[in-house]
Amino acid sequence: MIKDYFRPKSIEEAVGLLQDPQKKRTPIGGGTTVSRHQDGLSGVVDLQNAGLDFILATGQYIQVGAATRLETVLSYPEIDLEMKRAIKIEANQNIRNAATLGGWLISSDGRSILSTLLLAMDTIMSWEPGTQKIHFGDWLPLRSDVSPGVLLHELAWLKGLNVAFEYVARSPKDQPVLIAAVAQWGSGRTRVALGGFGDAPIIALDGPDDNGVDLASRDAYIAAEDAWATALYRRDVAAKLAMRCLNRINAIKGNEV
């Protein structure tokens, strides 16, 4: 049961509150998850005034503060359109106005389009104290066991990536049973992430080019079976969706040329 509520005014103050070993406290962004999972918590650290609400688009990276609302991300001009589409499918406006990017990703499961897309984009997480960096893909499978800090500070991804995602659901705004997201760097590096299954999206391919996108996708979901879809289905369609993403990216590149 939550007994204490804190609203720190700085990252340092937030980190101090979260590092107290005597207290089981958790940071909250929008509160959309914490408000319903209070068991075992003694306090919450509300990050709304901690200075984690920012978007920086200077240099090569887009850097987004962990407590930046999804709606703010959505309305930022330099955010990729494909990411905006993912946010709109995944979260309705009320949720977007409350939920933060950091909180959303930390509490997301394998059926999150946004999480899958950011995984494909090789997003880097930055944790406090110490501004420790970890790739989202390295953090996801083990979650809190490998968090290099107590407070997620920032998420960053490279600007100018070519990205696309495709998904399958029962209706256009339903939770997907299958997601394929592809990110391609200027060098040709191609990363394919799959979602729609399990506790977290996974990487199907991270290679110097786009060779084997379909095979890698098929193999990655060879055992992806649950109550929502069979592995037979997921592995077959994952390959098709990944190829569709790649074709879209190639079409964009073709238009740019």
Binding site: M1, I2, K3, D4, Y5, R7, I28, G30, G31, T32, T33, V34, S35, R36, Q38, L41, G43, V44, D46, Q48, E71, K88, N92, Q93, N94, I95, N97, A98, V168, A169, R170, S171, P172, K173, D174, Q175, V177, L178, A227, A229, T230, L232, Y233, D236, V237, K240, L241, R244
Partner: protein, 1003 residues
Amino acid sequence: MEIKLNINQQEYPLNLPAGERLLDTLRRLGFFSIKNGGCEKGECGACTVLLDGKPVNSCTMLTAQAEGHLLSTVEAMGAHPDHGWKKTEGLHVIQQAFVETGAIQCGYCTPAMVLVAKALIDQNANPDECEVRDALSAVLCRCTGYLKPVQAVLRAAAILRGEQVPPIDEPININEVIDFDGIPDDKGTSVPCSGGTLTETKVFPKLKVVDARSPMKTVGHAEPKVDAVKLVQGKPAFTADYEKRDLLYAKVLHSPYAHARIKKIDTTQAKALPGVAAVLTWQDVPRVAYSTAGQSHPIPGPLDTFSLGNKMRFVGDKVAFVAAETPEIAEAALKLIKVDYEVLPHLLDPSKAMDEGAPVIHDEEDYVNFADSDPTRNLAAEIRIDIGDVEKGFKEADQIFEEEYEVPKVHQAYIEPHVVMSYWDEDDRLVIITSTQVPFHVRRQIAPVLGLPIKRIRVIKPRIGGGFGGKQEVMIEDVAGHLTIASGRPVIYEMTREEEFIAARPRHPMRIKIKTGVKDDGTITANEMYCLSDTGAYGCHALTVAGNTGHKSMALYVGDGPYRKDPNIRFYSDVVYTNTVPSGAYRGYGVPQGFWPVDRHMESIARALKMDPIAFRLKNALHAGEIHPFSKAWSEGREPKPETIYTIGLEECVRQGRMMIGWDQKYQNQQWHLVPGKDHLRKGIGVAMVMQGTAIPYLDMGGASIKMNDDGSFNLLVGATDLGTGSDTVLAQMAAETLGVPLDDILVYSSDTDFTPFDKGAYASSTTYISGAAVVKAAEKVAERIRVRAAMMFAEEGIDVETTDITLADGKAYAPTNDILTFEDIALNSLHQIDQEQIMGVASHMSPVAPPPFAAQFAEVTVDIESGMVTVDKLVMAVDSGVIINPVTASGQIEGGMAQALGYAVSEEMVFDDKGQLREKDFVDYHIFRADEMPEMTTVFVETYEPSHPFGAKAVAEIPLDGVAPAVGNAILDACGVSLKKIPAIPERIWRELNVDHPEREA
């Protein structure tokens, strides 16, 4: 902790627990416009507030997070324009637009929608449809299908920009015969958020008058709903909004096992928890067998349910009740109840229910049989109907077609969860305020369960936040009732969304075999259906739902030629128990289950015969003047009596519908089926034809009471139950039309078992037809007394007038001499002056017939042939519901019904694992359509005049549920060749047909 909230520009210093949710704080402070949808992840949005002008869900926010921000609720937006000597600025433009456009049905989500609309328009004065739908996507609405809320927001924005908007009620259209000669522009799926671009601020539906009639003042007009003004303000109109001193909060412990016996139950620790007022188990309450199905006496089904028993028959069955000072204490007490279960073998597959050696779910000695129920074989009900000579019909056929279909268990998904409050009044009578569709059945059926005579129970039905059949159950009143009896204190029990899924009464799933004999010319010679219906753990509505599956869907196609007069139809059904959540009533009541196989089968036959699917259906469908074939054979467990069907507008429905969707340009047009630049997509178009019923003949009865007030206004008291459908409004319109007064002179009250006349409640599409006829009869009695009184008053002034020559209109009595008396004059005279009398009328109505509405439903889809994902792009429904009493509320029924049926077609199902645990327990996993993913929807009313109703009306509420799934199924077939047998049309089902089961189809 101590905080200060700023709510609607007012400071509220508060001391509250740090973990308290904003929703709970606001409701405790009296902001009842903030509704609880029972969800925990912010899925429904009914609890929306504005935080610094932006909409957020208050259920997923801690109150402390809101400190330092400006909170706004609907309470501060607008008010009734006239508060006596204090004038207000009236409703906000957005609220007014919601009232006028018919955007409000049950009204539970309305305050939330109004807030998100305000936030949108404050930020963007000229939002487009996508932006409106995106804003509304945060608020789930199960009633409207979102079309009218979108129109309301667009209309409000236009008004706020100073633009002219079209009038809502255009009576000139009512009698105008619209021939849609021009082919409508096909705008396809033109916007990424779907919904098309056809949404206009003009809300009056398209209307084709078949049987001309005289113009009327109120009936046939788009009158605003009589409860809309209070609902749009978020007034405390729902059960959970009632406040009571010393209120206790109830929680229910549910079984974790599908089939188990309680060996021992220990409540010692739970009772000892401070703040706990009562803990009840099966050892504490009387054992009374009853049915939760809210139906007329005698209940047409087995009595197999016990308020609390020692045997659990599904995951979610009731184990114990707790009442405590707070919901948190009650929840904690549940965890302290120690239960020792003997886990029993369970039965989940209905096809194995009657196998020898199957677990017997009802082995109790006090089970009360109804008709052919046989609990030793897990058989809750059995139906065997033979009309004509079916075997002879099959012998006469040139071809026989047989197939098997399946429909899932689906939830009604009303946004207001079940909620009930009970308390002893000062006369020691138990008052039950409950969100029910059947207040009179609740009173009658709960009385023995609680050990009280009926006369010591009073049931009050306030506004209901949607029901759709799910609240035609007496399912929660025992919880609060028992706990009030035990504690002596008021008790409220409000189900959570998870409880709604695991422990309410969703729609019966069915496996249906159908066999049809056809001559080569397309004449149906015999039609046979076997329906295996799964009633779950209890037999609520077991017989009657399955009966309707055959009664309506198998009645439509009688055959042609000699078969038309003597059709050969067989309908057999076994309704079996399984250890799953009990099934119950859901809008359509068995008929959507029936039309999925029937219409899909008709499509298959037509294609096999290479006949036009529309022509094939119409060739074999019922004609006006023919006898309803089932009326001689079955009537919900009662004596059947033949019924002639006088009005059938089906052919006109087909004509209008096919023009609206552009059937002739698309069907068999290969080019149209392709999507340029997207080789993996195929478009398809489909049709289905359906019929429903209008009430239950010789059974359903409604009463009405009308009395005249001093100012010439009238109180209309009805037991009929408006669950958001607008029935209070259409009843008032019929009263107003009969009495000759404007609608706002009719003050409707529904329902209270102490004060309003009996009505069977809101089900079977009966209110407009049955209760409406009662209202008209009562109004005619009042009108007659007004004429008599007016004649007397005219005579005193020397004007000699026959009562029959007096005309009532505009709140006045007109003599042929043009002399006039106002109703106020007449009321004052009758109440205070001469030969005083209360001008009043009481009447009731029961019908010997149940004239069916008919409809043609069309769907257009896009299928991804690689993934199997289906996107429904367009739905058109042309419906013959007789004379439409209120075109805007009626079209709202059609749109909302189509939206629900859309979920049935493509996305909704309740799936159990091998332990009987449900997969879907919230609105994330059980996805219902959002505003920003809806297809374009069009409604056309084809008005026939039904002679058995005083204004020519038939039912409208249930029929939109019937044809969407088969029309979508037929459109999928048209798109990619997949003949789906099972719904919903989830992607993997289509993909399997294309790639695994029938890979040749992919080409």
